[in-house]
């Protein structure tokens, strides 16, 4: 990355609360005009401003599309400064890949830019059910640093099976709404110009995945995406800013496979919901960052989904 851009970003950090700088990263241009602000493998805190997921933006000849506006107001502001440092073009589109707070609660930083807000057809319901809860959770985890954080309501929805194109001028992003996988409303983007598949949390690398949709469904979606032609790289929701596709999905696929197989076995042998987290897929979980915080939840979610099949 060129020195001037970094200097501009660091200057921007002066506006953040003291101690916040540790949570701020610079935007990485993973393909021409496609920038990722890498997240940290941490839980949300006042220090990291909930900048724990990969967010970013795509620059066309006429306009900019934001892909997830960040995990808090401060994180969103940081992203907005990174955009301003990269291009003078207007922000016309904000894509929300799914409801999780580390991806949407920075929306407040973009409330005044007049952009359309795009999400999966089921995103409004997910926001209705969870936004208030996420606000309270962020306040608990970040304290005063959470102030002002909020999601933007979607203004345009993409339905499963009905891909839509997002025109940025000389560059079009294909938006795909998926059946239940990581969540029940995952939206991915494909930038044909650079062969970049922005998967957000459909792909976890290094940080342990979190299951909030459908375990068999997620496996099916990944298998389908692995066959897409013309994909040079993918942008995971957590992990490096860009990775090889589909090679980088192998650890995730292994984890989900072990989780499903061993959860089914636990249910079949009468291991209860209380005991399953310590006994299911623990070997496969051990290699992931933050496994101690999420693996038990994943087993619980898998168990509840599979026991009534």
């Amino acid at each position: 990355m060129s020195a001037p851009r970094r200097a501009i970003l660091l200057a921007g950090l002066g506006a953040l609360a003291a101690g916040a700088a540790s949570g701020a990263a610079s935007a990485v241009e993973v393909a021409p005009g496609l920038f990722v602000l890498p997240g940290l493998h941490e839980e949300a805190s006042a220090d990291n401003l909930d900048a724990i997921g990969n967010v970013g933006f795509v620059v066309g000849r006429e306009a900019v599309a934001v892909v997830d506006p960040g995990g808090s107001l401060a994180h969103g502001q940081h992203l907005r400064r990174a955009i301003a440092a990269a291009t003078p073009l207007p922000i016309r589109h904000i894509v929300l890949t799914h409801v999780h707070p580390d991806h949407v609660m920075g929306g407040a930083a973009f409330a005044d830019c007049g952009a359309e807000v795009i999400g999966h057809a089921r995103l409004p319901e997910a926001l209705a059910q969870r936004h208030e809860f996420y606000g309270a959770m962020l306040a608990r985890e970040m304290g005063a640093a959470a102030a002002g954080s909020a999601a933007l309501a979607p203004t345009r929805l993409v339905a499963p099976g009905q891909d839509e194109m997002l025109e940025l001028g000389g560059r079009a992003l294909r938006l795909t709404a998926h059946p239940p996988a990581h969540t029940d409303h995952d939206l991915s983007l494909f930038d044909a110009a650079t062969g970049t598949l922005w998967l957000s949390d459909l792909l976890f690398v290094e940080r342990i995945p979190s299951l909030d949709g459908s375990l068999p469904g997620w496996r099916r979606v990944l298998e389908g995406l692995a066959r897409w032609p013309g994909v040079m790289r993918a942008v995971p929701g957590h992990g490096p800013p860009a990775v090889d596709w589909p090679a980088a999905a192998a650890p995730l696929a292994r984890y989900l496979d072990a989780l499903e197989r061993e959860t089914r076995a636990a249910i079949a042998t009468g291991i209860g919901l209380a005991e399953a987290p310590a006994r299911v897929a623990t070997a496969e979980a051990a290699g992931w960052r933050l496994a101690e915080a999420y693996h038990g939840r994943n087993v619980t979610a898998a168990y509840r989904e599979l026991e009534w099949e």
Partner: protein, 279 residues
Amino acid sequence: MPHRPSLPRRPVLLGAGLAATGFRPVLAQGIESAEAPRRTERWRDLREAIFGSRRAEPAGEALILTAPARALDAAAVPIAIALSAEAAPAVRAVTLVIDENPAPVAARFEAGPGGDLRTLSTRVRVDAYTFLHAVAETADGRLLETAQFIKAAGGCSAPLGGTLEAARQRLGRMRLVLPEGPPGPGRAVPVQVAVSHPNTSGMQIDQLTRLSIPAEFLRALRISYRGAEVMRIETDISIAENPTFGFALQGEPGGELRVEALDNRDRRFEAAWMLVPAG
């Protein structure tokens, strides 16, 4: 799509955003000391409302309540209650209370002539950081109480695991789990029964209408073996979706285990299994 929510034409912030001023910090670690007196008072009020003026003694080793310190899923928190071998024969009922839930009495287990309450388990919704209390009532009218603090939030309003439609289609289906097989002479075995039922709390939002889903929940279960009642369970909205109950069963093998359930809409569900030893 049967219903399409109307969308704003320009981006609008959801809620008002988190308040920028007047922010009240919340202690996330340990049991908030500032809250301790309020929590103590809450339990005193609840106990009086449920058990009247009867005095309760600390249960000590007689009654053990097990819950995760931090829930993995606030909408389905596994809870276990165990009575000591000495205490179990004298205990006729055990009540599970979730102090901060909108309907604090989660379940009341009452021993039938054919059973005891030595090990009990269920899954509950937990709405906010709270004390859980288990209270055992003995045949001679004593109350034994024990408590656990749990960090969990949002369990009462958490969305259903699947769609309400799918839940309705398998409404009333039951599962029986016998990890150690049927009981043998003088040998009690763990049993788990589960009823497919959305057990909605009235605090969940419908995916389509965005209105609250009406509370639809099991009120009572009756479990019997070889014609003798093992236990009755009174339940409420604090019990998780697909209500699941574990208990110990003793008696001769080869009998019929029967579960009858009743919900708040007076729907009855029933299932029976012959507990025949494998092989």
